[in-house]
């Protein structure tokens, strides 16, 4: 027994989308003006308009953490916020933390502890970990595990991630003590 599924036509045609406009963003210490529709997520602005593809899209729903960036030093899911909301903010992406030839301590620790396999969740993991450090959270192993649990890793590199983050946390806190 089959059943018909139809829908009503739009009266007066489909509504036109909101036009684009210039949006000024401060990314990794540089000011960029991008021509964006207002509903462009910060994530899409970075990847598709600013050419900063280090920030990853894994779900576009704030469920996986791959798109984590630092806004004014705090970690956020860049897929859950619109670019136009961040004109006065300092945005730091993975490219702003260190480069291939000049890795940050966290990036180097991730390499040393093999804290990734495919590498796709890695920029988000590192930005989250940097956020933890900035915020002064995560002192014990249990805290790091809990606070890093917003970043999924399907390769299952969690043991290495914990070891990498812990190494940097321990080093920084011993420097604070000294």
């Amino acid at each position: 027994m089959s059943q018909l599924l139809t829908s009503t036509p739009y009266s007066g045609g489909v509504p036109a989308p909101v036009p684009t406009g210039p949006v000024r963003l401060h990314i990794n210490g540089e000011t960029r003006t991008l021509q964006l529709a207002p509903w462009t997520s910060l994530l899409d602005a970075l990847r598709e308009y600013a050419g900063l593809t280090g920030t990853k899209k894994g779900c576009d729903h704030g469920q996986c953490g791959a798109c984590t960036v630092l806004v004014n030093g705090r970690r956020i899911n860049s897929c859950l916020t619109l670019a136009v909301m961040h004109e006065d903010d300092d945005i730091t992406t993975i490219e702003g933390l260190g480069s291939e030839d000049n890795l940050s301590p966290l990036q180097q620790a991730f390499v040393d502890h093999d804290a990734f396999q495919c590498g796709y969740c890695t920029p988000g993991q590192i930005c989250s970990a940097q956020g933890l450090l900035n915020e002064g959270h995560a002192h014990s192993e249990a805290e790091i595990k809990e606070l890093m649990s917003g970043n999924l890793c399907r390769c299952g590199a969690y043991v290495g991630i914990l070891d990498a983050v812990k190494e940097v946390v321990d080093k920084e806190s011993s420097e604070v003590r000294a």
Partner: protein
């Protein structure tokens, strides 16, 4: 010991700095000029027909370039053959946008292409489609009596061996016996990277497809067949893949859509699936298993019977090896194995990490635990009494098998001797404690691969093969093999992969890349080495005059006589003196069938797991896992350990979390997102120990490697399930084991 002895050590990943700095480019990250964006529209019904797609309404929006569907897609290849990829199962492959018929929920039915991603998504959301909906069936339970035995179908599929001995009579006469059914629902690969293809339009009908795939040549051949493209019209590239786990073994509809749009619009196009659409591209099938076992008075297996039934689509007979492993992991004279499929209105399942084995292993290893309890034996002792020294499925010895050593070393590390057999007999921290174990077996396979090696006058070696890197460490291990073969430091070697302009390599699956591509890389470097030797012997005063290739070795940047290390030349000097700017060699590698013929080639593992169960809440916490793997020679201790750690995480997910839930009323997966399809997170991690038991094996391949990507997942799920029984006394036979099943 030399400084260029790299194999077996644990150097950092050579692609690590690229990955941690965001500089590794995945397929959706080639921002070519004038790029248009495609957004896929998915069917909301499981079965029926599209009556009308109101494309004109959204086509009227400025910036929308086209709406592709069956209503306007140009003439494409007609025969099934053109759509079949290297591992297509039997039947007719799905053809996107081919006809108005809908055969599964979330079937891609249109592609909206626009100047921006935002506009394409907006237009796709507004696109009105009229359907005629038919009744569907997505419930495997309704097909218990409708199972059928599939044909040979897919590459790599082995129908179960015929029964041996007299399994029914032996079961009837057994001292102790058990019979139980095990089940798990559908599971989805869910690599972190979404399926994405960026097609660069190069003009004159030529394209480069940056595609998320585990096989660039598989995709290239598919595109040539479907779109009638010539060999030189299409290049497929994938240098970094954000996880695969089998989801990229077959060409996905994202690449079909992006190429279609690029060819029609004569423009570069990117198509990215949503996380929701990642649940429409294949899965580990919902599987039901019936196990029957019986033991003799001495605790040896008298009879073992294993039957499996799993779902497939209406259009393809997807097959995997579910039950065969049960005929080879333990010694038993009376064995009966059965395997059937049932057709449902779903998309075809697809190989997912340790396909078949991961499913069948849970049935076998939980049943072994039940049998051990029925026979009054410790589960480890029971396995040792039934240790298989031969593969009885094919009646051949194993080329190497150190599973016994795995049992011993892992049990000692885990502290298995502290376990008390009685369920509910152990407690800690106010919780019930359980300890369980499970083991597994997986194929050691080598398939044909090719590679090219080039050395330049400055001593830099480049090696190329069109294999893939999806997290397995391919760049690193191939660099190690090449560097060691020609006696160079790792920094002097660059390995390049994932490009159909390179020598052909097979799809990256079956845990065969290290053995297959690794051997090709070694052969290409050896071939290059022979050329270097010839060149080194040209000068009249060459210290290597008259030496054969077997007489020399490449060590620490030198080429020297094996028996007189002082007779040496510096590698870099050889080319510079000769005046050659570059030297190159091609080679390929095939398995040595003559050598392998008398043997069964397999890797083995065992996992021990400890759980804590809160009796009031039913919550389960895996506290410790010890995994021991015997997989020949380990090329890189660091990356191999990571693969096994990841496998343990997968086993944990399968045991306690992963299930794609079908709402049979709509024939639709209802938890198709990362908030509701649960995978383990960092807080779920137990303490994990990985042990590699070395096996010397020159029969599997010259490198002696068996592959490590899949075997480590086996045993883990069953070990956790068995530990939950040990803790609680409750035997849960349908995965995942969630707290409601314990209360």
């Amino acid at each position: 010991m030399t400084q260029t002895n790299h194999i077996g050590k644990g150097p950092n990943r050579v692609d690590g700095p690229l990955k941690v700095s965001g500089a590794a480019h995945y397929s959706g990250e080639f921002n070519v000029p004038d790029l248009a964006y495609g957004y896929v529209v998915s069917s909301p019904i499981a079965k029926g027909k599209i009556l009308k797609i109101h494309a004109d309404e959204v086509r009227a929006l400025p910036g929308v370039l086209e709406v592709f569907s069956h209503e306007n897609v140009p003439y494409l290849a007609w025969f099934d053959k053109s759509y079949k990829d290297q591992i297509a199962p039997g039947g007719s492959p799905f053809r996107p946008l081919h006809e108005p018929d809908i055969t599964f929920n979330q079937q891609p039915i249109a592609l909206v292409v626009a100047d921006t991603f935002e506009l394409a998504r907006y237009a796709a959301a507004l696109l009105r489609i009229d359907y005629e909906q038919d009744e569907h069936e997505t419930n495997l339970e309704t097909k218990r009596a409708a199972g059928f035995v599939p044909g040979k179908g897919k590459t790599g599929f082995q129908p179960p061996p015929p029964p041996r001995g007299n399994p029914d009579k032996a079961l009837k006469n057994a001292t102790h016996s058990i019979e139980a059914e095990y089940a798990h629902g559908a599971q989805h690969h869910n690599p972190m990277e979404l399926f994405t293809t960026t097609v660069e339009w190069r003009g004159n009908g030529k394209i480069t497809a940056y595609d998320k795939t585990q096989g660039v040549f598989n995709v290239k051949n598919y595109l040539m067949g479907v779109f009638g493209l010539g060999k030189n019209d299409v290049r497929v590239v994938n240098q970094f893949m954000g996880g695969g786990f089998g989801s990229g073994l077959r060409p996905q509809y994202s690449v079909f859509m992006a190429v279609l749009a690029a060819l029609e619009l004569k423009r570069s196009v990117r198509v990215t699936l949503t996380r929701q659409q990642m649940f429409s591209i294949g899965h580990r099938p919902n599987t039901l298993q019936l196990l029957k076992m019986g033991t003799n008075p001495d605790g040896t297996l008298a009879s073992l019977q294993h039957h499996a039934l799993h779902e497939t689509s209406q259009f393809e007979d997807y097959t995997e090896n579910v039950v065969n492993w049960s005929g080879m992991l333990y010694k038993c004279e009376n064995v009966k194995l059965g395997y059937q499929l049932a057709k449902l209105d779903i998309y075809s399942p697809q190989d997912m990490r340790a396909p078949g084995a991961a499913s069948g292993n849970v049935g076998l290893e939980v049943a072994m635990d039940e049998m051990a309890y029925a026979a009054g034996l410790d589960p480890l002792e029971f396995r040792l009494r039934n240790y298989a020294d031969r593969d009885q499925n094919v009646d051949k010895p194993f080329s190497s098998k150190k599973l016994r050593e795995c049992y011993q070393q892992a049990a000692a590390k885990f502290g298995w001797e502290n376990r008390t057999q009685e369920p509910r007999s152990m407690r800690a921290n106010g919780k019930l404690v359980g300890m369980g174990m499970g083991g597994g077996v997986w194929d050691a396979t080598q398939v044909k691969s090719a590679a090219k090696a080039l050395i330049s006058a400055d001593g830099q070696l480049t090696v190329r093969s069109a294999t893939g890197e999806n997290g397995t460490g391919t760049y690193t291990i191939m660099t190690q093999i090449a560097a060691e073969t020609l006696g160079l430091p790792l920094e002097a070697v660059t390995f390049e992969l994932g490009d159909t302009d390179q020598p052909e390599a097979p799809i990256q699956g079956g845990s065969w890349t290290a053995a297959s591509v690794g051997t090709a890389v070694k052969n290409a470097c050896d071939a290059l080495g022979e050329k270097i030797l010839k060149l080194a012997q040209k000068p009249a005063d060459s210290p290597l005059k008259g030496a054969k290739f077997d007489d020399v070795e490449f060590v620490n940047g030198q080429l020297r006589l094996r028996l007189d290390h002082d007779q040496a030349v510096v590698l870099r000097d050889v080319l510079q003196t000769s005046g050659e700017t570059q030297l190159e060699a091609d080679s390929s590698a095939m398995p040595n069938m003559v050598k392998q013929n008398g043997y069964s080639l397999h890797s083995h593992n065992v996992a021990f797991a400890e759980v804590e169960v809160d009796e009031d809440l039913g919550t389960i916490k895996v506290t410790r896992v010890v995994s021991a793997v015997a997989a020949g020679r380990i090329l890189n201790q660091k990356t191999a350990r990571s693969q096994v750690l990841g496998s343990v995480v997968w086993g944990l997910g399968m045991a306690l979390m992963e299930e794609t839930v079908m709402d049979h009323k709509f024939g639709r997966y209802v938890n198709h997102n990362f908030a509701e399809y649960h995978i383990p997170v960092n807080a779920d991690m137990p303490h994990i120990d990985v042990i590699f038991v070395h096996e010397d094996d020159d029969i599997v391949n010259p490198l002696g490697v068996k592959g490590i990507g899949e075997v480590g997942m086996l045993g883990v799920t069953a070990a956790i399930a068995n530990a939950v029984f040990h803790a609680t006394g409750k035997r849960v036979r349908d995965l995942p084991i969630m707290l409601d099943k314990l209360l």
